[in-house]
């Protein structure tokens, strides 16, 4: 075996998977995982670990794996992560652990994500669950939002002996893992539900159908329901639109709506009771993971799909693997292209998008070169659905119903970077509610940091 190359991972054939919602990546089997684990150089100064937002002891778990000790490997990962089966699938490894891997300097990095996934899936098949804390300290913490940051924060606090309840606004826990990321990338029953069961196994209670700020306020949680501290992980909610003509037409959806219908409400299934529009030709606007998810969902529901993104391929914010998978499945990319107007037919339904070509100019505030329209380059793309995947901004529901919570101009909660504490004592926050739309793993990292902050805060009050 060529040590410069990673052990390839088995995937569903693109032609087949373009028509089903089964998981694209099939993961490593034991032999493949063992072979890939052998490629790890076991660096004394593991850069991969520094690249991990939750600092998993990566060489440590790979060493256990080499010894064919999956339970041992799972234990090492569990010291730092609550949702390894999720992270192994959706983390942007190429910019984190694998991006720092020494192997990657001269060849391909070790497939750390695929190994993490193998350990998590195999441990689950073996019936291994995290163990609840042996002693409880009797203190109550409320966690708002059962998404990645909330689940991570709740797990850490439960391990420390806190009595934790997570409240979620939707009818199902998981946040973006349940409503946002599609089945073909992150299976719900087999992976997400199982990981959430593991959080419950730690003693965490989850109450769904509770909207903080509406069903109950933070003040009531602390004053009447006896919570000693609160973590806000309510996520980024509000979808952004472009504010171009025609955006209100029938057939224009936010990616949030489209994906929530498909993922949370199971509209992709024939027996589902929530409808979804089955487009013939769909245009998806945006270049992030959500855009890829929406495009590949539309494709699987029978559409011919074009992704329109205003910068070039190098700037696509999506994981490389998702872009690669999308292309393999036959999704067209119109890069350096921006929509200017959505056109409609005589019934008010979308009939096409008028676009303009762009070129990259000077770098903007984000450091990326700013796209500028090329005059006279307008052209039409015919379609019967437009899905806007332009990102989201933090949901103002909690900040607007809670006194003393400062927000930034972009609507994110202001927190102390070190411990996640907000401007209000005893109230901590993390994830997209603070940063605006980011990744699952960054949200988990923020949740874990806040768990440490909450622990210190509550100990200091003893």
């Amino acid at each position: 075996m060529d040590g410069m190359k990673k052990v390839p991972v088995r995937e569903q054939d693109p032609k087949v998977r373009a028509h089903n919602f089964d998981e694209v990546c099939l993961g490593y089997n034991r032999e493949e995982a063992m072979a890939e684990a052998e490629r790890c150089l076991q660096c004394k100064n593991p850069l991969c670990q520094q690249g991990c937002p939750v600092s998993i002891n990566i060489p440590g778990f790979i060493r256990k794996l080499r010894e064919d000790d999956v339970p041992g490997a799972y234990e090492v990962i569990s010291e730092s992560s609550t949702l390894p089966a999720v992270c192994g699938r959706v983390c942007p490894q190429e910019t984190q652990c694998e991006g720092r891997c020494v192997r990657g300097i001269r060849g391909e990095a070790v497939s750390i994500g695929k190994l993490e996934r193998y350990v998590a899936d195999t441990a689950a098949e073996m019936g291994i669950h995290p163990q609840p804390a042996k002693t409880r300290n009797g203190k109550k913490v409320a966690v708002i939002g059962a998404g990645p940051s909330g689940l991570a924060c709740a797990s850490d606090l439960a391990r420390l002996g806190y009595d934790v309840t997570i409240f979620d606004a939707l009818h199902k826990a998981g946040g973006v893992l349940s409503y946002g990321i599609p089945e073909f990338r992150l299976p719900k029953e087999r992976v997400v539900d199982r990981e959430i069961d593991n959080v419950r196994a730690l003693g965490v209670r989850i109450e769904t159908d509770v909207i903080i700020g509406k069903s109950v306020t933070i003040d009531e949680l602390m004053d009447r329901e006896g919570y000693d501290a609160v973590f806000i992980g309510s996520g980024a909610g509000l979808p952004k639109f472009m504010h171009i003509p025609g955006e209100q037409a029938m057939g224009v959806f936010s990616a949030n709506e489209y994906l929530t219908r498909s993922n949370l409400m199971h509209a992709y299934r024939e027996d589902a009771r929530t409808p979804i529009y089955h487009a013939k030709k769909a245009v998806v606007v945006g270049g992030g993971n959500v855009a890829m998810d929406a495009a590949r969902t539309a494709l699987r529901l029978g559409a011919d799909v074009t992704i329109v993104y205003r910068r070039s391929e190098a700037e696509l914010p999506a994981r490389k693997e998702e872009v690669h998978h999308a292309k393999e499945e036959g999704i067209r990319f119109e890069l350096l292209t921006n929509p200017e107007e959505i056109l409609t037919d005589e019934n008010g339904w979308v009939s096409g998008v008028r676009c303009i070509r762009m070129e990259l100019g000077e770098p903007d505030a984000s450091g990326r070169r700013r796209p500028v329209p090329i005059e006279g380059s307008e052209f039409m793309i015919d379609c019967d659905a437009v899905i806007m995947a332009l990102g989201t901004s933090p949901n103002p529901l909690i900040s607007s119903t809670t006194d003393g919570l400062a927000t930034t101009t972009k609507g994110g909660l202001v927190v102390n970077e070190e411990n996640g504490e907000t401007t209000r004592p005893g109230v901590f926050a993390g994830g997209d509610a603070v940063t605006g739309a980011a990744t699952v793993i960054l949200a988990m990292g923020a949740g874990r940091k806040a768990a440490r902050g909450i622990d210190e805060y509550l100990r200091s009050r003893d």
Binding site: K214, V216, E247, F253, N256, P275, N395
Partner: protein, 292 residues
């Protein structure tokens, strides 16, 4: 949780249910709505709140089966439970922020159409408790589908009826009734209209002509109801608003009703097909052109 404590038929096809939902009841204010799901695979159905009992921890909903999901809701019996009841969602009526002394001086008119009578009742009841008795025009196609007459009488100053077929009260729709009241010399400072969008559209056109500032409650498409999906967006004064977090009540003169009605029809064929398929099996394949 979410047990149905009471179920009754208010007319041939309109149901009222009292449901256990303590967290919703505790904060429910007039003007707000909730979302229910019948079972684990159910669609999320937004419904305005008709009444609440904060001590008993219950909320009252009124609905008319119009599709597969609401038909399924109608099959639930007393003692059954909803899988989910979440809320209260949206903002309370702006009237709850007006000082009581001012409210008592205002001449308020409510216009209720069909099932829209239920949320109007919630507002009138709250006002009545503050010592404010507003007038109301309650409209329906025909007398036999007029609902909550007795309850409405108890909390309304003057309750006028308008039926399309003339079987009760004023012969004609709510606009005919409003014009008639106006011609008789009745004057109002503010109007709240809740009912089918088409009714609200014409009512708002008339109140604008008569110079009565008007609030309308928008029952748009919705998925999560917390501001996440954007399905409920509508144009108000040329600006995009989300009914779930910015509303559901808006300045009726500024709402683009034509576009809102168009967007409300977006899933009609998708939903209709699902419903027919369930009812009749594989009978509806499209192609007749009627629903295109």
């Amino acid at each position: 949780m979410f047990k149905i404590l009471k179920k009754e038929k208010l007319s041939a096809n309109i149901y009222r249910m009292v449901v256990e939902a303590p967290r919703v009841a505790a904060h429910a204010m007039p003007g707000q709505f909730l979302i229910v799901r019948t079972d684990a695979e159910g669609e999320r159905i937004p419904l305005t709140i008709c009444d609440d009992d904060k001590e008993k921890g219950t909320v009252t909903i009124v609905f008319q089966p119009v599709g597969g999901e609401t038909a399924r809701m109608a099959l639930l019996k007393e003692g059954d439970s909803f899988a989910d009841v979440v809320g209260p969602l949206g903002n309370p009526s702006e009237l709850v922020h007006v000082p009581v002394e001012e409210l008592r001086k205002m001449k308020l008119l409510f216009i209720a159409g069909g099932v829209g009578t239920a949320p109007v009742y919630h507002q009138l009841k709250w006002l009545h408790a503050q010592g404010v008795d507003a007038d109301c025009i309650q409209g329906a196609r025909s007398r036999d589908i007029l609902i909550l007459e007795k309850e409405m009488q108890e909390v309304t100053g003057h309750l006028y009826f308008a039926t399309d077929d003339g079987s009760y009260g004023i012969h004609g729709n709510v606009c005919v009734a409003l014009q008639q009241l106006y011609d008789e010399g009745k004057r109002y400072d503010h109007c709240v209209v809740i009912g089918p969008m088409i009714m609200m559209k014409f009512a708002c056109q008339l109140t604008k002509k008569l110079g009565i500032p008007t609030t309308a409650s928008m029952n748009t498409l919705m998925v999560d109801g917390t501001g996440m999906c954007g399905a409920c967006r509508l144009l108000v004064g040329g600006e995009v608003k989300f009914a779930c977090v910015d509303g559901p009540e808006f300045d009726g003169w500024k709402i683009d009703f034509d576009q809102a009605m168009q967007r409300a029809r977006m899933y009609k064929t998708e939903e209709g097909r699902l419903y027919l398929e369930e009812k009749e099996g594989e009978t509806h394949h499209g192609g007749c052109g009627l629903c295109q």
